[in-house]
Amino acid sequence: MTANSLLVQNLKKFYPVKGSSEKFVKALNDVSFTLPPNTTLGIVGESGCGKSTLAKTLMGLEDKTHGSISFNDNSFDNMSNKVKYETMQMVFQDPLDSLNPRKKAWEIIADPLLINSKVSKTEALKKAQELMAKVGLRPEQSHKYPHMFSGGQRQRLGIARALILNPKVLILDEPVSALDVSVQAQILNLLKELQKDLGLSYIFISHDLSVVNYMADDIMVMYLGRVAEYGNADKVFNNPYHPYTKTLLKSGHISQSEEIKSFPKLISSELPSPLNPPTGCAFHTRCPLAKDECHSILPEVESKNERSVSCLL
């Protein structure tokens, strides 16, 4: 195994359904991937496909049902929280809601440090101000409160907080969705620059395909908790195998290829209920290419040309 890689194998997260001991919502089902250092894995899919559950489960905010997460060959199960949080940190979608309004900027950034290590407040302040400079904020602003910053600046605060423990992996859950395009560009540039400087790995979750295409080295398309397609981002974007990936690319108005533009419409716009997922391939209820066998046979994740695809066709 490559050093300093994040390895996730057969990760599952089932939520029990109220009033039944046998029914589960399978929010994550058999998700596996490898994230080498200094790379970005983009995760795309519609709401409810398990993107955010994946982020939470990786961070340990939700307990996993099954599977293994390991970093540098050390399993997360045997890691103390302290080591875990020094390995992996998270940046959230809504920059205002994820910052404590009663704390000053430097306190927000330094909090993980004060909790996880024995540093004095002065040292923490100094470290926080260094990081503020690194993410493009003026250190003089360290005594301001979150509401005094603009949206883009707040997201920079969130990034600084995630960086203070020198993690190796950052989970970015829709980090730019709440921002205007010009500010979005600033944050994306900052993230790329930080990755280059610090050798970070990113798990970049977004519903915006053009952003993911710009950021990601690898891409994973999820559908109802399962991996639909996973592989090199350029290859997936230029030559998607799975009908769902094709649909997403068509709807995202970003592909120039005629094959994608003329790809048939979805049969139904509605995502099936995860409480009662379709038999066979979960996508067959909407897939314009579905055949009879798709209704009954669950496609295995198959690898071809360094790409995993779960589709019978």
């Binding site: 519609e46 395009v181 010009s182 295409n213 709807s251």
Partner: protein
């Protein structure tokens, strides 16, 4: 035929800190059957302009204009009763967040029925019931009969937006204002809503004002586009020409900051430095001057006026060539 004309529209708000001008010197027109795209970042005045067209601004707003007429009616002279006739009848609106725009206490049928009751009083109860069902079919809701008695929380985001659209087109409006109608939706659902809007527009011959911050969506569905910044129109014209050849530095910056308009990943995204000006103390000259890469000395002292060349309207001293 020109449906909507706004000339020199200005919208001000009385606030504790004095009067602020949110929108100024905005002039545009919408022809029958045409789609106008409006783009710009948060706070550029897109939504406020639409609210003014619908008469939905709060009491502390002051709206003035040389002309603001819709279908021959002077909107500035309307009283509340007059507004009610136009709003929901000849002018429909779809809002950004469909989940929050429907009344959670009423069923789908009751909500659409209300629109018809008010604006089409000549219809009988039976006619209304028939119309509601056909509207739901029009907007592509599966199993429409069962949905009639559904409450908004039982519908998905895409379905709620379809119900909103059904309400907006219930009285065959001449103009549909769609304010970020797909922003809260997934891309696959967005695509279907856009296709639906296009189809309805062709069927009913409506004009549409389509507001969005997403240029990649706007470029595919509109013929005309206007770009707003700090409450002013800074560039407008034919969508294709503007996207392929922007002349205002702000439009160029906006386009360059979108990843999908880039070819390679190694490009650093262009980002517009700085922030939108504070409306309490607007710059004296060009509003974009502080963030512009192409500014010259006189940009900060004199406010550029609107110039028109062919189809393109521009507010810039030094347009890009």
């Amino acid at each position: 035929m020109t449906l909507l004309v706004a000339k020199n529209l200005q919208i001000q708000f009385k606030t504790k800190k004095g009067i602020i001008t949110a929108v100024r010197d905005v002039s545009f027109s919408v022809e029958s059957g045409e789609t106008l795209g409006v783009v710009g970042e948060s706070g550029c005045g897109k939504s406020i302009t639409n609210m003014a067209l619908m008469g939905l601004l709060p009491d502390n707003a002051i709206v003035t204009a040389d002309t603001l007429s819709f279908n021959g009616v002077d909107l500035l002279s309307l009283n509340e009763k007059g507004w009610q006739d136009i709003r929901g009848g000849q002018m429909g609106m779809i809002f950004q967040d469909p989940m929050n725009s429907l009344n959670p206490c009423y069923t789908v049928e009751q909500q659409i029925n209300e629109v018809l009751e008010i604006h089409c009083p000549e219809m009988t109860k039976e006619q209304r019931a028939e119309k509601i069902l056909s509207l739901l079919v029009d907007v592509g809701i599966p199993a429409p009969k069962e949905r009639l008695s559904a409450y908004p929380h039982e519908l998905s985001g895409g379905m709620s937006q379809r119900v909103m659209i059904a309400m907006a087109i219930a009285c065959n409006p001449k103009l549909l204002i769609a304010d970020e109608p797909t922003t809260a939706l997934d891309v696959t659902v967005q695509q279907q809503i856009l296709e639906l809007l296009e189809k309805l527009q062709n069927d009913h011959g409506m004009s549409v004002i389509f507001v969005s911050h997403d240029l990649s969506v706007v470029k595919d569905i509109t013929k005309k586009i206007q770009v707003m910044y700090a409450g002013e129109i800074i560039e407008s014209g034919i969508t294709k020409t503007i996207i392929s050849n922007p002349e205002h530095p702000y439009t160029k910056g906006l386009l360059d900051s979108i990843p999908s308009f880039h070819d390679t990943k190694d490009d650093v995204l262009f980002s517009i430095p700085g922030l939108v000006p504070d409306l309490h103390s607007r710059p004296k000259g060009c509003q974009f001057e502080g963030r512009c890469f192409n500014k010259k000395d006189d940009c900060s002292s004199s406010w550029p006026t609107i110039t028109q060349k062919d189809d393109r309207v521009l507010r810039c001293h030094y347009p890009l060539k």
